[in-house]
Every structure is written in structure tokens, then in C-alpha cells.
Amino acid sequence: MKKTDENIENRLGNIRKDQPFRVPEDYFETFADRLMKRIGEEEQPIKKRTLFFYLKPALMVAASFAFVMLLVYVPVKKFFYTSGNSYSSVQKMNTDSIDSANEIPATLISYFSEGQFLSAVTDMKELESDTISNDKLADFIAANYSDYDVIANN
């Protein structure tokens, strides 16, 4: 085998043994710095990988979901709140008007003396009791309906 190895020089002897390749200028001078920079870059993200790094995708999905819900929920709630409010305000307004109708403003009372005010209230009550009197109701039915109509409707 040794003889064969020695012959190789003769067999491939015409071919120069020096390196036929070259490298870019300053390649070996700058290699160590480039390598250390790459090592630094590769190590940094590994160190910063905290729990947040792994939860980040899930948190992003949750945040997106919350955002979409917010976009839908707020206008819907606002709509129902507004319509509900308008209903209650109408109701409130009606109640107020009824109350205010029943109430006699204090400013109006101040125009009357106590005696005048009491006689006015008494006349009103007499008028009201006249309208719901049973005798008057019986007279009205007797005048306008036959006995058959009364029996048939009951």
C-alpha cells in the first residue's frame, strides 16, 4: 500500500497540490466576530422565552375574541338600553302627567282662599258620585236595553 501511495505523486504528479479555491477578502479576519454575533442572536431569544412567550398566541386569540365581542355587545346593549329607556321614560312621562293631573299645583292653590278651594273640591266629589250612581245606571239600562238584551249579555 505504501508503494501505491508513493506512486500517487507520480500518477497525479502533473497536478498542483496547492489549494485551487480562495475565500472572500478578510473572511478569516472577520469570521470570529460574525460567529459571536450569530451566537449572541441565537441565545437571546431563548433566554427571553418566558411564560408570556408561550401564552402569547392564546392571549392574542382571547384578545381578538374580546374585541369582536366588544364590537357586537356594546352597540346591541346600547340599542336595547336606549329603547328600554325610552319605554320607561314614556311610562314615566305618562305617570307624571297622570300625577300632575291629579295634583293641583301649589301656585294655583295660592290664588284661592281656603274656603273657595274646599267648596270646589266638594262640588267635584258630588259630580263624580253622580256619574257612578247605581240608580242612574239602572235608569240608563232600563231606558236603552230590553230585558232580552240584559239576559243575553249576562
Binding site: P20, F21, Y27, F31, R34, L35
Partner: protein
Amino acid sequence: MDSTEKELIANLKSDGNRQKAFQILVKTYQVRLYWHIRKIVLNHDDADDILQNVYIKVWNNVDSFREDSSLFTWLFRIATNESLSFLQKQRRHSIVSMNEISDYLADSLESDVYFDGDEIQKKLQLAIVQLPEKQRIVFNMKYFDEMKYEEMSEILQTSVGALKASFHFAVKKVEEFLKEERK
């Protein structure tokens, strides 16, 4: 393993001196490792990537270095494995056969702007890329680097006898290729 190398390994394994020791390691072996890789993959950019990967592996695994071989042997072993893995990846990605890996390397050589050799040197390189991977590595280490078989045996983890046989067959094939080219 001499005392300087032992000290370098100790510094590489200690947190305080690690970075400085690593820079010494890089500067000491970068040229020899680069040319070893370059002769396997031929293209400069590929060789540069692989050399960086080799040193990154060393940086990450220096604590597991058992010191049963020299740093030089360990580094060359990693460099050889990385280079072969690179070629295997090329083969997997391209779904190419061994012959097509030779074609890939031949194309790399033809388009390499950093190839300065003459016509005969180019023919020799084209003959080398036709060899099977192991024979190619053995040929380069023996013919160009004039490495001892014992050293090669440690790096490639192959017996001296098998390496001699590989080199013998490689020379024969190269010779035949060159003869064919002359016709």
C-alpha cells in the same frame, strides 16, 4: 493532549473565561476546518454556513466534551459530520441520487467565483466529486492535507486498513477519470 489544550478546555467549560477561550479556539482551528469543509461541499457560502454551525455546536456542547480525544479530532469529526449531513439534506430536498449529488457539486464548482485553479486542477476536482462521499473525504485528507492515517482514523472513526483501501480505490478512480478526459 498538551497542557495548553487542557487549559483551553478548562476555560471553555468555566463560565467566567468561556467567551475568551472560545475565541482562541475559533482563531486556532478556523482555517483548517474551513478548508476541510470546503473540499467536501466546494461552495464557499455552504462552507461558511457549515463552519458556523460547527462552532455553534461546539459552543453549545463543550460541557459534554469527554476529552478522550484531542480538540482537533473532536472539531474535525463534527465538521465532517456536519458537511455530510448538509449533502444528505441537499439530496433529501432535491430527491436526487448520489450521481446527482456529484452533478450538484460539479455545478457548484463550475459556478464558483472563488475557484482560482487552472484547467488541470479543475479536472482533478471534477474527478474527485465523482467519488463516493467517504472516498472523497479520505482522498482530500490524504492527498491535499497529507494527514496521517492514524489521525484520519480517529476523526472518521474508521480503521486504518479501511482508510488505506478507500484511498487506493479513490486514486484509481481519479486516475481513470483523468485518462478518460485526456482522450
